[in-house]
Structures are given as C-alpha cells and as structure tokens.
C-alpha cells in the first residue's frame, strides 16, 4: 500500500478522508478535542478564534442540508470564513472537471475544502492535487466513507457508554450502500469494540464485509440480542422497491426497529440514526422519540466533532 494520504510526514492529520487507517491515538485525540468544544457550544458566546482569517470552502457535489449546515456552524464557531458552493447546480453541469473546479477555488486562496461527492474516492483525488497548506475533509464520498459522521457516532457512544472494550454494537439496514456504516465499523474496530454486528438482508450486504471485522446477521432479532448500541441506517427512497427489496413496508416488517425488537437489546441500550430518518421504514416513531434514542444529541455532538477535526487538520 502507498503511504496513508491523510497523514503528513510527522504522522499528524493533514486531511480527514477516512477513518480506516487512522491510528487509535488520533481517533482518541479527536474525541478528546471534541469534548473540549462541547463546552464552547454551550456558552453564550460560542466562538473561538482558532481558524480566524482562514477560508473554508464547502464543496458539495451532492446535495446535503444537514451535513453542510453543521460544517458551516463548526467553521464559523472557529471564526473561519465559510464559502458554500452548491456545485451540483453550477460548474459541473457546465462540464468543468472536478480537478479544474478545485484548482480554481485554490486560486481564490482556500485553506480548507469540505468535500461531498457521489463518487467513492473523490476526496482522495482532490487531496492528491491540493497545495501543501490546503486541507481536505471528506463530508461523504459515494458508498466509501463519511468520517465525521463516524466520529460523531463514536463520540456519542463514548459519551453514553464510556468503555468501548465491552460493547456489542449492532448496525442495521442498508450496509451495502452506506458510507456511514463503513466509517463507523472501522472506528469501532480500531477502538477495540469486541463485537460489531451488521444486520440486514443479503441484498444489502456487501461482499466480504466480514473482513472488516463484523459478524453478519440476517435475522434482526438474533442480531439485536444483548446489544448495547443499535445504529439504524437510512434506506434511500430509490432502493425501497426493486431488485434489492420488494417494498418499504416489508423492510419495516423484517428489519424495522420497533419497541418490541429493541427490548431484545440490553435494557440500557442506546439507539442512533445518522438522519434523515424514514419513520415507519427503518424505525418506529415510538423508538425514535423514546427514552433509548440519542438521535438529537448526535446532531449536537456533530458540531463539536467537526470543530475538532477542522482545528486539528489546520494544525491546532
């Protein structure tokens, strides 16, 4: 393998492209840094000057509201200037290539690119072509990775469960197409979670997923048994009926998280979801809004985690 493109010569975080390949110490440092920022976000004046004078470009080649917004809030709380570009509606449709777009923005003195792209690996391509002082943060690429989501999931789990080394984590749903699942699985195995389960039908399980260190379950009840953490994945509309699944209703019937199924998990289990949720498809409303749900705190922590990542890649 070529050297890990996320780390500089000193082994420090130059870009954040994927959780895979990041050493445990760096993951822990990100979570610890995020913890210090949670305090900031609860203050009346929610700003720190760590990125003052820096320009952060939100480069979303695929539309997103939530992730883009939380990155924007995170950058502003670090006192950076934020420029949002909705590329899906601009230069790409005029035929400009990905690298040309980036070169042009780079000429506008960018310091950091937050990139979302429908193709797996796109942020890696960008990271190979930016200037040494420019940093790339992957905000979701194809099915490959969504590292800040994975980190905020890890943060949430640590917040509620403390020790990773005694946990059983169940990830339920469309693992095949999920960058959230891939990032979280790498994070969990790196931090020493002894049992990570992937639950879903064969049609939504990628080939050889066991090699990532997960145990595959097709029976949701078996998979949820004694779990400490249940992570529900979003099922995209276009995949709800066709050759992968017959219908959203049947998916809910076979894999949806109901109170009755959740009762198979540990009594103190937490329920997570990366959002946006499809109520009645992946998850029943009574569970989404119930006492086990930590879905809204996830969003809050997400801002602190993104602040931590941005400040760390920029060298603070």
């Amino acid at each position: 393998m070529p050297p890990n493109p996320q780390l500089n010569a000193n082994g420090e975080l130059q870009h954040l492209l994927s959780i895979e390949g990041l050493p445990r110490e760096i993951l822990i440092r990100i979570l610890d840094t995020a913890e210090s920022f949670v305090g900031v976000t609860e203050r009346e004046v929610k700003k720190v000057p760590l990125l003052r004078g820096k320009s952060v470009f939100n480069l979303f080649f695929e539309s997103s509201t939530r992730t883009r917004t939380t990155f924007e809030i995170a950058a502003k709380r670090l006192s950076a200037d934020v420029i949002n570009l909705n590329i899906a509606a601009s230069s790409q449709s005029k035929g400009e290539s990905l690298l040309d777009t980036v070169a042009n923005l780079s000429a506008m003195q960018a310091d950091m690119f937050v990139v979302r792209h429908a193709s797996s690996g796109a942020p890696f391509l960008i990271a190979r072509h930016v200037k040494p002082h420019e940093h790339v943060i992957n905000a979701g690429d194809g099915r490959h990775a969504h590292p800040t989501q994975g980190l905020l999931d890890l943060y949430t789990i640590r917040h509620y469960k403390k020790d990773f080394r005694e946990l059983t984590v169940a990830v339920v749903g469309d693992v095949l197409h999920s960058r959230v699942a891939r990032s979280l699985i790498h994070g969990l195995t790196t931090l020493g979670v002894p049992e990570v389960r992937a639950i879903g039908p064969q049609t939504l399980m990628p080939a050889g997923v066991e090699a990532l260190g997960v145990r595959v379950y097709h029976d949701v009840r078996e998979g949820l048994r004694d779990a400490d953490v249940v992570v529900m994945l979003r099922l995209q509309n276009e995949r709800m009926s066709g050759a992968l699944l017959p219908s959203a209703q049947e998916f809910f019937m076979t894999y949806g998280l109901t109170a009755e199924r959740l009762a198979l998990a540990k009594p103190a289990a937490i329920v997570m979801h990366p959002g946006p949720m499809n109520r009645g498809v992946e998850i029943d409303s009574s569970v989404a809004d119930g006492p086990h749900s930590v879905i809204l705190p996830q969003v809050t922590f997400g801002i602190a985690v993104r602040m931590a990542v941005m400040s760390m890649v920029a060298g603070h």
Binding site: M1, P2, P5, E20, S97, L98, L99, H117, S119, S120, G121, A122, F124, L125, D141, G142, R143, H144, A145, R179, R182, P206, A207, G208, V209, A211, L212
Partner: protein, 425 residues
C-alpha cells in the same frame, strides 16, 4: 534488401530453440539461419552481440483509436509505439467510433495502416451492427475486406437468442468469434472486483460469476454450434477452471489474458488509483496467481497488451468515473519477461505466449524463426531496464499502473517483412 543479424541469441518459441546464431532476411522473409546465414552478403548488418533475436510480438488486442478517438491517439502514434515495443502484428478490436461493422471502414483502416508501413494490422470485425447486440453484421463481406475474426469488444450481447444465432452464422463460414465472457446484467454498474477491497473502498462490485455465468453460456453454445471461440481477457480462477475443463473436453476454444492481470490484483487499487481501473476488473490475489499459472501451463494460450490509450481528462477522475484501460504496446514485452521470470520459464517458453501462440490463433505464419517464415523479427536486450514515465512512451496513451516502475527488456531493433521499422541504440 538483405539484412544480416549477427551474433545474437536466437530464440524460436515455436521450436523451443535458444542458441547463438546468425539470421539472414531477404525479400521480406527469413532467408537463412546459422551456418547458411554466416558470412552471407548483405546490404545491412546488425550486430546483436549480447542481445536476443526473436520473432516480433503478436498482440491480439490493441486499440489504435481510429476512427473516432483521434484525440486519445492516432494510428501513427500507436503504430510507432507498437514497433518500439517489438510488436510486429496486432489485432484491433472493433470498438472504434463508428465501430468496425462495415467493409469500407475496415478497408480504410487497413490502407492507412499499410501506408504507415510499420506493424501488420489485423482488424477484428464487429459481430453485431454498432456492437448493439441485435443485428448481425455482414460477416462475409467484412471477412473479404480483411477482418480476421468477429467480436463485441467490451459490450457483450445480452440477448442470448442473438448470441446463439451469431455463433451459428459465424460457424457456417468457419469464422472465429472472439468474445469476452461477461454477463452484462451481473456486471452492471460495477467498477471493481466484488470482494473485500471493493467493499472497503465503497466501489460497486463486479462478481466473479459475471464471468463464469457468461462463460458457461458461451461454452454451451459452442458445444451446439461448433463455433471457433476465442475467449478474451479471462479474469478469474473460476474462469480458468471452466476453460481447463472445456479444453480437456476438446472444444474448439482458445483464450487470452491481459498482461496487467497476471501482475496486478485489486490490492493494487490502493487509495482509488484510477490507473488500475481496467476491463475486466483486477481481481483477487488468488485469481491473479491462477491466471499467471494458467498462462504458463497453456490453459490460457496467450497474453495481450489490451492497449487502451486514455487521455488525462478521462483518467484524472474519481475511480468509478475514470475511463477503464491502460497503455500496453510498449509494456507487453517487459511485462511478459517479468511474468516468465516469476514463473521460472525459459525465454522460448515465455515468448511463445506473445509470439507463436497468438500466431496460431490468428492463423498467420509469423511468430517463429524459421526459413521462409515472414521477416518479422526483433532484437532486444532482456536485461536493460527502463523507467516507465510518460515522456518515455511513444503512445499517446500515458496511462499505466506501472508509471514510475523500472521494467527490464528494451527493444533495440524491430523488423517487419525484413525491413527495419524501429531502431534505438
């Protein structure tokens, strides 16, 4: 014009000969060997001391990109690259724009190639009109225009009724059909081998059974039609196993493998290296080993460059969006030598996979060093290293997974029909 090549190590893969000797070429052919050649009068003498003298390479798949894709490469640049790589005959697949589905196009390509007077070009005609898999091409007319076989390049026929009829029709006239074994539905949307690496990288996978399902179908149709089938670019261990059994059964089949596929596996994708985006996809390490071994034991007849020039605009993209393919004409010889060394084969055995063996499939007399054989000969230094960098490649295709690597095997001279068409000190 009489040319004498003196003091070389004369290797003839067809007979297994590997011994010092002299070679005389006259009137476009090999006129004499050894004693008969020694001291013969000649217009030109090439001193091959310390070098190998062997038949020119025969490449069963090289895309010249004409007509239609001249911005990626031209016939001239690619023919230069071919002879610089020691390739004296090449077959070009029909996936040009428009595809080679009309006699006029084939005729034009042959004339243009002939005028350039470098390697011999053998066009492969389209099996169906526009390669759309619906209507048969005028195969008899295409054959009369010079097509040596019929193919679908990288767009398999999905309709099995059409496939059956196409094989029947070709068999009627004894034409060979060259097809890749890939089920289009199973491969749909995929960009990498469906396995651990694709799962990690989040790339849509092409399962091995996309190859074996299609191959089983093809073999079954060959059993019924008796068509001479050449299977192009085998990619998996399971595919090798099917071919092995079918050959044992005595079916009229042959097959090739892309030279990259005996050296690389999906692990080489690293962090989304689009240079490794190939068709078929690079599969697992186990598959790679099976292919390399099958090429040595003869279940796979020959290795091809599958030369595909791709311009930077289409390669410098996220992995799944990048155009598949790699440059190959100038890498075929060094990569074949590397494979032969890894398999611990002699030079004659190694070269057979890129000379005498493809000559047999093509049905031509080249690919051997023997009196009266065509005067297609190369002189090369098997030990000389060269670094694969874009500037060193004559092809307009500068895309290769081996960029930056050092490979051994440099061509010093290439002769086609007895004439020196390439030379470098």
């Amino acid at each position: 014009m009489r040319t004498l090549i003196r003091n070389g190590r004369l290797v003839d893969p067809a007979s297994g000969r590997d011994a010092p000797g002299d070679l005389l070429l006259a009137e476009g052919r090999i006129a004499a060997l050894d004693g008969e050649a020694k001291g013969a009068s000649a217009d030109r003498v090439i001193d091959a001391t310390g070098l190998v003298v062997a038949p020119g390479l025969i490449d069963l798949s090289a895309r010249l990109r004409e007509p239609g894709y001249e911005f990626k490469a031209t016939l001239e640049s690619e023919m230069d690259a071919a002879v610089a790589g020691g390739i004296t005959s090449l077959a070009c697949p029909p996936d040009t724009d428009p595809p080679l589905d009309e006699p006029g196009l084939v005729d034009m390509l042959r004339r243009r190639a002939k005028a350039l007077a470098r390697a011999r070009v053998y066009p492969i005609g389209a099996l169906t009109a526009k390669l759309e898999g619906e209507r048969l091409t005028e195969m008899a007319q295409l054959a009369a225009a010079g097509c040596v076989a019929f193919s679908q390049a990288n767009t398999p026929i999905t309709n099995t009724q059409v496939l059956w009829r196409a094989l029947q029709y070709a068999a009627t006239f004894g034409y060979a059909v060259w097809l890749r074994a890939e089920d289009r539905w199973l491969a749909q949307g995929g960009v990498a081998h469906d396995g651990e690496v694709a799962t990690r990288l989040g790339l849509a996978g092409i399962p091995v059974f996309a190859e074996t399902v299609a191959l089983a179908t093809l073999l079954e149709l060959v059993r019924s039609t008796g068509t001479r089938l050449h299977v192009c670019r085998l990619s998996s261990a399971a595919g090798v196993a099917l071919m092995r059994a079918a050959r044992r059964e005595g079916l009229p089949i042959s097959c090739d493998v892309g030279i990259h596929h005996v050296h690389l596996s999906d692990r080489d994708l690293g962090y989304f290296d689009a240079q490794c985006r190939l068709e078929p996809p690079l599969r697992s390490q186990r598959d790679r080993e099976a292919l390399a071994k099958a090429l040595a034991d003869g279940v796979i007849d020959c290795a091809v460059s599958d030369h595909t020039p791709v311009d930077d605009d289409h390669k410098q993209l996220p992995f799944g969006e990048a155009e598949p393919g790699a440059t190959g004409l100038e890498l075929l010889l060094p990569l074949a030598l590397k494979w032969g060394a890894e398999q611990k084969l002699g030079l004659a055995q190694t070269l057979a996979r890129v000379t005498s063996s493809p000559a047999r499939i093509l049905g031509v007399g080249a690919g051997r060093i023997a009196a009266q054989a065509p005067g297609d000969v190369i002189v090369f230094d098997p030990a000389a290293d060269f670094r694969i960098v874009p500037e060193a490649l004559r092809s307009q295709g500068k895309n290769s997974p081996f960029l930056g690597h050092e490979l051994a095997g440099r061509v010093r001279a290439t002769l086609v029909a007895g004439k020196v068409v390439f030379e470098q000190p």
